[in-house]
Subunit: 403 residues, 2 copies
């Protein structure tokens, strides 16, 4: 699929590095570190799967104990999940060494892993590489590219981005990177998102903004409907912009949230564009909803329907499948008020087919970007879920992952 | 896949027919009729999709108005769904003509449709064929085979079965047929089930038994997780066995329920065995549950996971995906108590990998029948969901359905 360009994610006061420590073979990068020069306020959101990686537990605990964070260490190639007590012991040992080498408190080091589950983490390789990792930290775009490459698993391309805006004369910059492709988040391909900004914002407000932003971005993408044991999105704010502290319910918060949502949505879209075997970039928008929940349930039902996704791959104008998925969402609505549009072609008006010419519809289906809009005409709430189609290659990639 | 043999579903007092009325081309059978010689008690269960076919509304209303039913007319090739007011008018006209020709009340005629949605039903073809349909009714196995073939859509084979048992010296027989393959129930391939028995049982008790039986059979199968707008299961009981009337909470009810569940499960299994592109017959059993709901949510999460299903197709011993789907079910459980078995091989004990030899596991994955057992060790409830794997052919069949 057509991929969007990665913007240089450099933000003043942050350093990064990515290298190979030997978890993956062929010298493939598999270890990344992000470091803030000063203690940064921090917030994270984590997977809702009831089975979680020890790394998720570690980072969640660290964020509850300390409002600050200095470093995030991330490995790919192994999820460090479902491996017994060794999993948590490894998190302890790794974060301890990183903290020692950086001369910072251990609770200010977060950790994340992605890769195959059930295989013990070769933590000695990470420990062995840690001194070199820290020596190699740097501020250049190359360093950030290396870091974003080191967190990839089945991803075909690395994913990074940057946004900026002026807040009362201060230039606020937010950089970020993400990974995930067989999605959300197959076979522990896991979705990871990391963000860093020079804004002055307290950790509580940062958490609020992160939740709002992820609920319009990372939490609204789906490739195959599964949530990994390792998913997380973490944001650090080092305050170097010296803006007046951003507080909830202010115009400054609104602007920060808008920028954070934008970069999260860009990074989430890159995941969809890199979806396993994907050939279409699909936006399912439900508008005219009575509640956000109703709109979300219906958008999600359409975006996760295997029947809709295979029809999109086949460029098959089978709108009946879309409507059927609307009915399957488990949310109430009035079937006689529903309109469905595909790339601005009205397929269904008040729940009845418009008998659009099949030729026109087939032409619309051939587009690379597909926008499905469902108007419930019963309120003003909306939700958008991004997804991709389901292709032969999706089956191929996923049938042959560990073997 | 290896298909199970169809048993002759003939039951005394019932006649059937199946023929081509021209909805499908190439003289393919597309119209079936089942008739009871005498008014039969009747019960039905219908799709939970919020968009329903007028046929579903018609039959649901008819069953609420009359406890008896004499005839069920079923067409394939067109779902008569999302077609505006004409859909219900067609149901009225067709059931009216069938009733006139059979000299029975219109409310004792039920109707069901399966096929593509959004295309007006060519009801004139059904009306034109109705006299011939009724003249051709018969009791032979051939007649039932024709009927079961006439309700097929993407099904590769027709599906029928019979069970019997003795109730206080009376031989009770239950026959049935089903359809559905791209499932549950893609692109309106729709799941339909029809059952007929000579038992004496009142309609209220029959409904109770049908709900219990379908909750252990038709409602526990999944190919792709979608529910059609047209799904229904209907049972008729003509009383010709002259047994003492079956009443709830009696041993007779228990035996009837057991037999009804057995035939429903057989007919549901045949749908899985005929699953679109399926190469594996998969049973996901969750046992040791605190509640049936918990067990069901977890079994269903595993059985509907695209990642699990593609791994099964690829014979990839990636048990991490199974465990991840358990965690994604949205039901509480204790991860430290979970055991997972695959064809009797213990993969996970108390939430930790058993490090089974990959060779042994790969051998188990090569079996045609896969039994995944998840023991939660927190109670006595269980649920079983039947499914199949996700293959290249699934994508192929579903990418090219209407085009």
């Amino acid at each position: 699929m057509k991929l969007s360009k990665n913007r240089n994610p450099v933000v003043p006061g942050f350093k990064a590095v990515g290298l190979s420590c030997g978890i993956k073979d062929k010298n493939t990068k598999d270890l990344a570190l992000i470091v803030s020069n000063v203690p940064a306020t921090a917030a994270g959101v984590f997977t809702k799967n009831r089975i979680v990686s020890p790394g998720v537990t570690w980072s969640r605990n660290a964020l509850s104990k300390s409002k600050f964070c200095r470093a995030i260490i991330v490995n790919s190639g192994n999820a460090n999940t479902v491996v017994g007590p060794k999993g948590f012991e490894d998190c302890d040992a790794i974060t301890k060494l990183v903290a020692e080498e950086l001369s910072i408190p251990q609770k200010e080091v977060l950790i994340a892993s992605t890769g195959v589950i059930g295989v013990p983490l070769p933590s000695h390789k990470i420990l062995q590489a840690t001194p070199k990792l820290i020596q190699s930290l740097g501020r250049s775009q190359k360093h950030w590219t290396d870091a974003s490459e080191a967190i990839m698993t089945t991803d075909l391309v690395s994913k990074s981005d940057k946004v900026s805006f002026d807040l009362k004369g201060h230039r606020i910059v937010i950089g970020g990177m993400s990974k995930g492709s067989g999605m959300i988040h197959p076979n522990m391909a896991t979705m990871l998102g990391f963000l860093w900004t020079n804004a002055v914002i307290d950790s509580k407000t940062l958490k609020l903004a992160l939740i709002e932003a992820t609920d319009r971005s990372f939490n609204r993408i789906t490739v195959d409907g599964d949530s990994s044991t390792n998913d997380c999105v973490i944001v650090l704010a080092n305050g170097e912009a010296k803006n007046p502290t951003i507080k909830p319910n202010t115009s400054g918060y609104g602007e920060f949230l808008k920028a954070l949502t934008k970069i999260c949505k860009n990074l989430a879209s890159k995941i969809i564009l890199d979806g396993e075997g994907a050939t279409k970039f699909v936006t399912v928008c439900v508008q005219g909803g009575k509640t956000r929940k109703q709109a979300y349930l219906i958008a999600n039902s359409v975006a996760t329907s295997s029947l809709v996704k295979t029809a999109l791959f086949g460029e098959d104008p089978n709108w009946g499948r879309i409507y059927c998925a609307v009915g399957n969402a488990g949310a109430p609505f009035n079937p006689e008020k529903v309109d469905i549009l595909l790339n601005k072609n009205l397929l269904l008006k008040n729940g009845c087919p418009t008998n659009l010419s099949p030729k026109k519809l087939e032409k619309a289906m051939r587009q690379h970007e597909i926008n499905i809009t469902i108007d419930l005409h019963c309120g003003k709430e909306w939700e958008e879920v991004l997804t991709c189609d389901f292709s032969y290659d999706y089956v191929k990639i996923n049938a042959e992952y560990t073997t």
